[in-house]
Symmetry: C2
């Protein structure tokens, strides 16, 4: 094997091991054994454990970023739902490696890996903004999109810890969360209200956004009655 | 000064410096100068830079956790809003130190500091759960509360980066976001719907939760008309 080919093989082997156990728990010896080469030979291709780990995490980060790419066709809610499915595919496949990357730790919490994580977040942010296609995005939209990216990260990490809730439910929930966070911002800000109307204009009633609005409108009267009734007796 | 007194003074000086610049940019020399002692004397109290930084971050983390404590009196929305004000007070006072702590980096991204951050998140989660006072919280509620804690963190970090949106607006928005994330979960899950009704039972119409529901109900018909009209023409 050539140098680059061997490096790519070792990265692949490392990622395979990180899908079952945290990078902190995987030794160079194990990577060498799984690749069928000697430990010193691993060090020939990567000067240290940290450099192999960083190379593996870089490939994983790049792969994750590619999963955000979605054709700009059809309603936004359906597009976002497809991206969420691919995001959870990735999280599912890379379990412990994804957790370690996002949570930091001895093998990963370096300036280099933090910069990689920021790059992935930035890629997610830019993809969403390109789909929203708003010439001069209000600062509140930037905040909603970026904070929702954090919410998606946190939700995926929490899901990995026990996998108690079906992932399909969380994929849809995150699409709804996006709409809900936009709606909250729109309740107090005209610029955001215009953005929300613009998004919903393209949404069919049976899409994820339309469905959420329908469901909330269906339970809202009961909730409002409850609030009003309570207010009267207070 | 006694040993413990001097240690506390150095921690205080370090936190003061971290409120203006990132821990990575603050040297032990500066901390020594600000405390009016020699550099070797700092090392007498703290064996290395990392141990002083960790002690400072520990004190900050403990202080942040105390700000989550709120009497269990009055409507939940108003309680959460008061906690958000104290949270943003903390973020405001500790700016660069808070950013560095949450974002990781050479001086902070260690196993010890990561564990501190997890402790703060856990304290926030436990406070909220104690206020919600639900005997057997559904797993979806745990997810909503924990992911909202991440959202609050992310929102505060984004706010620090330029402070473009007034913090009072974000404090209220985070309270609303909490309600919105609960509502999304409630739209598909009966257990969460029961939790939401239970929360709203205690809310006055003029409180932050009641106000949000009112505002959203006010804009909802326009949005629904838009969606329905678009669906007809599609």
């Amino acid at each position: 094997m050539g140098v680059e080919e061997r490096r790519q093989q070792l990265i692949g082997v490392a990622l395979e091991l990180f899908s079952a156990r945290s990078p902190d728990e995987v030794s160079i010896d194990e990577i060498a054994a799984a690749a069928g080469i000697s430990r010193p030979l691993v060090y020939h291709y990567f000067p240290g454990k940290q450099s192999l780990y960083e190379a593996a995490l870089r490939r994983a980060a790049e792969e994750l970023a590619t999963r955000f790419v979605e054709p700009r066709e059809g309603p936004l809610g359906a597009r976002l739902l497809r991206v969420m499915k691919r995001f959870f595919d990735f999280v599912d496949e890379h379990g412990p490696g994804f957790s370690a990357l996002m949570r930091g730790g001895p093998a990963v919490g370096s300036t280099t890996t933090n910069a990689m994580i920021d790059d992935v977040r930035q890629a997610a942010y830019e993809q969403i903004m390109s789909h929203l296609d708003i010439a001069e995005p209000p600062v509140r939209l930037t905040l909603v999109v970026r904070s929702w990216v954090s919410l998606a990260e946190a939700t995926a990490l929490l899901w990995l810890d026990g996998r108690e809730i079906p992932r399909a439910e969380l994929e849809l929930q995150l699409v709804h969360d996006f709409a809900a966070l936009c709606a909250v911002s729109a309740a107090y800000d005209d610029g955001m209200a215009a953005v929300v109307v613009r998004i919903l204009e393209q949404e069919p009633l049976e899409g994820p956004f339309g469905e959420l609005v329908g469901r909330l409108m269906a339970i809202a009267p009961t909730v409002m009655e409850q609030v009003v009734a309570d207010d009267r007796t207070a």
